[in-house]
């Protein structure tokens, strides 16, 4: 690793765990760990739990009397509709409707937290400051001082519960609360990027090593594994979650990306409002689709898409999906051709391989599944018991 790569405070921990370090958004991070590998780490998150060092992400804090009004002037959502102690996914658009970033917003009593992509942190901060204008707001970058971890998977809750007195049953999906975990003051958000239930944890960067170790120790009996970037990507891909730089970017509008649900127009004029309204009314020129290879091949980001033999788009993300065990991908195609069942081709190393458009997400996130019908046993009636006793 060159000295140019930033090192998170867990760098040595990752090495000790056999992490294979790679550069990502200016940071040296583990792509996977030696003893496990990307596939086992992915499976651990789907079946048990995984722990991710995501400190490279940014935490921007917006506070002040005009914080809400300011955010409403730059984001596509109406922040007045976000209750205290809740998270909201939102988009930060350019004037022309393309995207500066996609972010998670947390409404806390004293401020708004905006969780931003690592690669966009400086850009987002400059953008927010440039648009602060006359709003009475303070915009701070707390990223250096704040450590961020993700604990994800069906066993994340019981694992975290062993380290905190806070009753996690009271933290439903997308709720955010301040409490103490492993003796460290922490912001706990029931959010994530894997398609499983889980948490994103924020605390003082000084505590990175003890918190990391405490979580690994607490989770070991439940099958918790430390997980790297490869698993992070395959998990979010299966769940249909977009990645800036792939499904999102400065030349991609939210409607093309299938994120129209996160664009509200009703009440105020935000940056990009008119451009986005026009796109919504006219329909985007291209749309993000999922596809499945019908001839085996691994479709990767950047590979050309052909429809009727003509170039029609590019793959944004693709892989052999670990949980589904299928060759899947996402791509932008002309809107009128974005039809499930349509046959397309992906050019893989100069050969056109057949594929078919399928619906997204490939894997239904845990929090989008219909709750299982629980049929409670009826209390036994004396007449039943007598009847069975006779037999």
């Amino acid at each position: 690793m060159t000295d140019e790569m930033g090192r998170t405070r867990l760098y040595d921990e990752h090495l000790a765990l056999g992490g294979r370090m790679v550069p990502f958004a200016g940071w040296a991070l583990p792509v996977q760990y030696e003893a496990t590998g990307a596939l086992r780490e992915h499976r651990a998150v789907r079946e048990a739990a995984g722990l991710f060092d995501i400190d490279h992400m940014g935490q921007l804090i917006v506070s002040g009397p005009d914080a809400g009004a300011f955010l409403n002037a730059v984001l596509t959502v109406d922040v007045r509709a976000v209750p205290r102690g809740k998270a909201q996914y939102a988009l930060l658009p350019y004037d022309d409707g393309g995207l500066v970033d996609d972010v998670m917003l947390y409404r806390l009593p004293e401020a708004w937290w905006i969780i931003v992509n690592a690669a966009n942190r400086a850009k987002d901060l400059r953008w927010l400051i440039a648009h602060a204008g006359a709003f009475r707001v303070t915009i701070e970058d707390l990223s250096e001082r704040t450590y961020m971890l993700a604990l994800q998977g069906p066993r994340a809750q019981p694992i975290l519960q062993t380290l905190t007195a806070f009753n996690l049953d009271r933290l439903p999906y997308h709720a955010v609360a301040r409490t103490e975990v492993a003796g460290v003051p922490m912001l706990v958000a029931a959010t994530g990027y894997t398609g499983e239930y889980g948490y994103e944890l924020y605390f003082s960067a000084e505590e990175a090593v003890p918190v990391w170790r405490a979580l690994l120790e607490a989770g070991r009996p439940a099958g918790l594994l430390p997980c790297g970037l490869a698993a992070r990507d395959s998990l979010r891909f299966e769940a249909g979650l977009p990645l800036y730089g792939h499904e999102l970017g400065p030349d991609i509008d939210p409607f093309a990306a299938g994120l129209g649900a996160f664009v509200r127009f009703d009440h105020r004029n935000f940056v990009g409002h008119d451009a986005l309204l026009k796109i919504m009314l006219e329909g985007p020129a291209r749309k993000l689709v999922g596809f499945e290879m019908t001839e085996p091949a691994v479709p990767r980001a950047g590979y050309p898409v052909l429809i009727d033999g003509q170039p029609a788009g590019t793959v944004t993300s693709g892989m052999k999906a670990p949980t589904l065990d299928r060759f899947l991908g996402m791509a932008f195609v002309p809107a009128q051709q974005a039809v499930p069942g349509a046959e397309i081709e992906i050019v893989v190393r100069e050969k056109a391989k057949k594929a078919v458009i399928v619906k997204r997400p490939f894997y239904t996130p845990a929090y989008r599944r219909a709750p299982e019908r629980v049929i409670l046993p009826q209390p036994a009636r004396m007449s039943d018991l007598r009847a069975t006793a006779v037999r």
């Binding site: 792509v31 590998g37 990307a38 596939l39 190393r349």
Partner: protein, 130 residues
């Protein structure tokens, strides 16, 4: 980190091994290669009958994060490809020198095997990499 090698075969600098088997040569990738690649998810192999020159790309080995070209260590005609790798590509990781074999070749010129590294030379070669 040391990787295993087998004494009974020869090695190319692109990390393929060549094992003479009667009049054929069996080809696969080494322990070093599978470790570098990580979890193999797909192996793209040629059909029997296809011909390649020594060093020519005959297929590809895809892992989660990488694609590696496969170069044929000796010129010849593909006689058989390992169909078991279609359903179980991970065999390349678990048994690269055995069940993870990739193709069997009828070599045009068996003397080309002498141009390849023996196990010790390959071991030395990999230890100097990186």
């Amino acid at each position: 980190m040391s990787f295993s090698v087998q004494q009974d075969r020869k090695y190319a600098p692109s990390h393929e091994w060549a094992l003479p088997q009667g009049e054929l040569v069996v080809v696969g990738v080494t322990d070093y290669a599978q470790h570098e690649l990580g979890d193999v998810v797909y192996v793209d192999l040629p059909d029997p009958g296809e011909r390649f020159a020594k060093g020519e790309v005959f297929g590809a080995c895809e892992s989660v994060k990488a694609v590696a070209d496969l170069n044929l260590p000796v010129s010849g005609e593909i006689v058989e490809m390992n169909a078991a790798l279609v359903d179980a590509p991970e065999t390349v990781n678990t048994d690269p020198f055995g069940e993870g074999w990739m193709v069997k070749v009828r070599p045009d010129n068996p003397a080309e095997l002498d141009e390849l590294m023996d196990a010790d030379a390959y071991q030395q070669f990999t230890s100097e990499l990186k």
